[in-house]
């Protein structure tokens, strides 16, 4: 019966998502909008820089346009997935609790939410990865898409934590925007990061490992396994926290 409950719940969540047409349109438009801005505002001059995850003597030679596309691909994936995660867990809180009263177990509901988020992460990473490849040919598109899925996982889990803890929609959105803006939208830009006064703070932010992974996989032949594993651990901490908060909120006497 648990399997059937999860399948039905998953199918209902996906129906609700697909029926919010404005959300779907924005998911498609936002990355394309970012890339169009990059296309018209950046130059092709080479900007050599170092990545913190690679050895000190490794310089990456890439154009301003290229690194901007990669950076905005990471930023838009993190941004979109965290909003979607917030929406998934927060919006139907009351009615989800009614389902629990009627017989659903919080874990069954949470599993279906996580499965739908996982599907959304894969689709968004695939879409943004392919779109990036159209604007700027990536050396290893498959690995790069996996890197984008990693930022989706970390920031999706962050969105779940915010959605589980914060009741108000506006407050939740502001908290998401705050971290997304500072972290993935600013400090993880490798050009800023390379010259930053205090790199330690940046290394502790959630987008650090996924950003490193995405850049390494996109434009080098180096292994990104260590950065990717650290990113997964970071995401798991968020995910487990969100599961505990959700379970605590949904439980009934």
């Amino acid at each position: 019966m648990t399997g059937n409950k999860i399948i039905i719940s998953l199918s209902m969540i996906l129906r609700m998502l697909v029926r919010q047409k404005i959300v779907i349109i924005l998911l498609l438009i936002i990355p394309a909008f970012f890339f169009t801005i990059v296309e018209f505002t950046t130059s092709n001059r080479l900007l050599p820089f170092q990545l913190a995850s690679l050895d000190d003597d490794v310089f990456i030679n890439i154009s301003e346009k290229g690194i901007s596309f990669i950076f905005f691909a990471v930023a838009s994936t993190g941004f979109l997935v965290s909003f979607l995660a917030l929406n998934l867990i927060q919006k139907n809180n009351e009615i989800n609790r009614r389902l629990v009263i009627c017989g659903y177990h919080p874990i069954e509901l949470l599993t279906s939410i996580l499965l739908s988020l996982l599907l959304a992460i894969l689709l968004i990473a695939l879409y943004v990865g392919l779109l990036t490849h159209i604007f700027y040919p990536i050396d290893h598109p498959g690995r790069f898409i996996l890197g984008l899925a990693l930022i989706g996982f970390v920031y999706g889990s962050y969105g779940l934590v915010v959605g589980s803890l914060i009741k108000g929609e506006l407050e939740g959105i502001l908290i998401i925007v705050l971290l997304v803006n500072i972290d993935v939208g600013w400090l993880q830009n490798p050009l800023f990061y390379a010259e930053a006064q205090n790199q330690l703070i940046i290394k502790f932010l959630p987008a650090y490992f996924p950003s490193q992974t995405a850049i390494i996989t996109a434009v080098t032949n180096y292994s990104a396994t260590a950065a990717a594993m650290s990113g997964i651990v970071y995401g798991l901490v968020f995910l487990i926290s969100s599961m505990l908060f959700f379970f605590f909120k949904m439980r009934t006497k």
């Binding site: 609700m16 659903y104 009934t252």
Partner: protein, 199 residues
């Protein structure tokens, strides 16, 4: 005994909303609770169904429970039919029985034509019909109704009372929050909630 409350107390900070509430409901009875706005009626209902935690006292329920919250709790982007499917799975009702029950409720409360409509496209009254129908779907032995007829037209209001009569005969214990003293004659027993105490 279907429901037994013993010494229920609940505070929000220094505000003691409920103080030492005890009562019992037997099968086939209809009991009402009246009280001013903010007197704690909805909090008491939420404690009974298990939504509210951190209260004092004990709640014993013998059988399945159906709960109709005051505010319609529905998914805006799902249809009426999908709500019946979703909640049938939650209750553990098999597909054939679920279809039969949904059909009966859609016909009784006269909203069958909205079966394929999404909730965001429905009027408040029709949403409330579904909100109530979800509580009735699995034919519970205890029905908790928190002002269930908000937004109902006169015909639906009459149909609602007709249905509760039918449920009573079947042995269902019904607890209804109301603010209409005129409904007193329909009830087997009526409590007034005042200053956190049932009178």
């Amino acid at each position: 005994m279907i429901l037994e409350l013993e010494h229920i107390a609940k505070s929000f900070g220094k505000n003691k909303v409920l103080r030492d509430i005890s009562f019992q409901l037997e099968a086939g009875t209809l009991t009402g609770i009246v009280g001013e706005n903010g007197s704690g009626k909805s909090v008491l209902m939420e404690i009974i169904v298990g939504v509210r935690r951190a209260y004092q006292g004990t709640v014993k329920i013998n059988g399945s429970i159906g709960y109709c919250p005051q505010k319609a709790m529905l998914f805006p982007h799902l249809t009426v039919g999908e709500h019946f499917n979703y909640f049938s799975v939650a209750y553990g009702i098999d597909s054939r029985q679920s279809k039969k029950r949904a059909e009966e409720l859609l016909l009784h409360f006269n909203f069958k034509k909205y079966r394929e409509e999404k909730i965001i496209n429905l009027s408040g009254g029709t949403q409330q019909k579904l909100n109530l129908s979800i509580a009735l779907l699995h034919e519970p032995s205890l029905l908790i109704l928190d002002e269930p007829y908000n937004g109902f037209d006169w015909d639906t209001y009459q149909r609602f009372w007709e249905y509760t009569g039918h449920l009573k005969k079947r042995g269902c214990a019904i607890l209804i929050v109301t603010h209409l003293l005129s409904e007193k004659e329909r009830l087997d027993r009526m409590y007034e909630l005042e200053n956190g105490i049932l009178l």
